[in-house]
Subunit: 435 residues, 2 copies
Amino acid sequence: MALAELSPSHTKIHSPQLSYLSTCHSNHRGLSLRPLPRTQIARVVCSVTSTQQVQSPPIQVEDSKKKPECYGVFCLTYDLKAEDETKSWKKLINIAVSGAAGMISNHLLFKLASGEVFGPDQPIALKLLGSERSFQALEGVAMELEDSLYPLLREVSIGIDPYDVFQDAEWALLIGAKPRGPGMERADLLDINGQIFAEQGKALNAVASQNVKVIVVGNPCNTNALICMKNAPNIPAKNFHALTRLDENRAKCQLALKAGVFYDQVSNMTIWGNHSTTQVPDFLNAKINGIPVKEVIKDTKWLEEEFTEMVQKRGGVLIQKWGRSSAASTAVSVVDAIRSLVTPTPEGDWFSTGVYTTGNPYGIADGLVFSMPCRSKGDGDYELAKDVIFDDYLLKRIKKSEAELLAEKRCVAHLTGEGIAVCDLPGDTMLPGEM
Amino acid sequence: MALAELSPSHTKIHSPQLSYLSTCHSNHRGLSLRPLPRTQIARVVCSVTSTQQVQSPPIQVEDSKKKPECYGVFCLTYDLKAEDETKSWKKLINIAVSGAAGMISNHLLFKLASGEVFGPDQPIALKLLGSERSFQALEGVAMELEDSLYPLLREVSIGIDPYDVFQDAEWALLIGAKPRGPGMERADLLDINGQIFAEQGKALNAVASQNVKVIVVGNPCNTNALICMKNAPNIPAKNFHALTRLDENRAKCQLALKAGVFYDQVSNMTIWGNHSTTQVPDFLNAKINGIPVKEVIKDTKWLEEEFTEMVQKRGGVLIQKWGRSSAASTAVSVVDAIRSLVTPTPEGDWFSTGVYTTGNPYGIADGLVFSMPCRSKGDGDYELAKDVIFDDYLLKRIKKSEAELLAEKRCVAHLTGEGIAVCDLPGDTMLPGEM
């Protein structure tokens, strides 16, 4: 889903020096070599292992507390407290976004800044992570944010080192990932992106808020989220999410169309499992106008054979028509995912998100990041939905996605500190329209 | 500013037939030839004239009342009235957007749909105008809007004929324009885009709400807005705007940076004149924390020599850094422009918009679309700001922009029904970063 490029973690990383600027136009970018060995990186796909990986690297406190590079007008000081008297704003929150120069972020950042996500009384700081190659584009994004004059957007900083950028982050929206190159196997992709997410997990562990909420969008997002989580042992495991909300939204739209109702009538839509072609859009539990879908849509053949395919093919059809991937609707679904965690879930409904399985009531294997139906009180946390029913057809499909995620997990064992990686992945299960 | 392409108006236009669909996936696009001769088009740059142009073409009522093609889930019927009981929503408004498959629209449409522009209680219908070439992309945009499940977005229709798409439009956001090709003179661009905006003016006149508010973004936007207006004699002249809000926003940011304050402290920022390099960002009337800018920023040399240049070069710098034009911040500025008309202007402040000059108190020649300081009661209308001061330096620069707009007007006389076009334009005054 995320197409923006990042430096792979075995690349030498430069950290921009802190510099306060007095112009929107240029941003001097001092480069200094980080002196500490960050990680022991597996360079060979699914073959090198290191149980050291799960431990945080020995970051010096001083170094890790370095602020990322503020940008332009956002380097200016301001007195939010003084303004508070007239505005009664909440305390500033820090939101880190990786792949910040990419197309999904280009939509998402402006939504965050506008107040659409966290509300009109919530000032925010955006911390933008890019790659060395995309640094200039990152400056361009920051310039456009300046020119948008969003009153809620109080700080913007940009950088290419997650140890700088993730400083004090309360939300980390991990969008950046390496796209799949020509001839690249899913195993290669898992390893390359796994290294990025291992590095980012360590960085979050070292410098972010210890209650940071993490939403992984970069693919393969479930296993990336698992790797990220395993490399951040100080952050609660339940704070890590893999984005399956776009799949949920697409599924709702398809059910609405088939039933001939407007999409706001569809509820209780679960995406089970992996964000891949083994995902399970659940029409057994979904409801239309409060009535089970199967009682409204009698065409079982359509539900069993076409519905899932239509949800999954959506991205591919879009690329065909529009010539680009679904950046705008992906960004909307990230907004939805965040809002589902910071606003109470409507009575009786739930939402889908990929979360860590540990003692779940559905019989899904522990130790995976698996999309499941969740509810939230609006405090940033979630609980698993009750009143979920299963039949053999649904269970069989969930098992297939579970098997795939277990295989992906074995394939990245060298990145999660769980021993020697063994890759026995099934065929290509990337969703069409995602690279 | 607008880079999306449109069919030039001398191309044969096909109008998609009305068809109700039962799938998100494909949209059958029946093509039927419009039987009526639309306009007498000037094919030779600045040389052919026709006083007939200002009159509306003889559109049959039946034909002009044809609905544009609804898309996917938005073809479904729903009962907004029934929902009203729980939602207390306002009456649906129709918003037409041209260049709808382009990058600016790709940001703007989702902002409109989210409620960011018209508020959380205002359901909307989006009418998307594209070109024959971009029709598939238009379907892609509609698909992404479907997948976003915005509850306020009740109708989406797509089409390539402005006589269909502008039907009952209460807002027309005219973003699409032909980009300047290699070796193309400004006069050529004025003529090519002028023809598009003449056509769209006629279409608005024939089928839109007779109080439609029109915001022209496609360049050269001032003269395009003038042409559009002149071809829509039944719509009040004061309903037409040319977008100079991005310039205003950029100017505020630069003043904030120079003064070392946050941008929300800058007010009363006027952009005078043309959206071109003759535009005048007015530092004489602008205020920082309520104090005249010249009392806060003592560096007169910077104000007189660098400030305007920095505002104008912004788009060019952005293209250099980011590799794309400023689609996101342009869309934000369109949002700002609309909101300035539908919410009351804060006491003592004003905003800039290019409007028709007729009996203005500033001594600017009548009959131009000229950016000036305006205030609104929030009813969609505006009045010109009072308490504006002038000095020789400001007046001299305003006169230069006025002279340019008078020259542009003479150059498109064949499109405004004002006789034979004569082109004596000064050198290239396109803003850097805009094509």
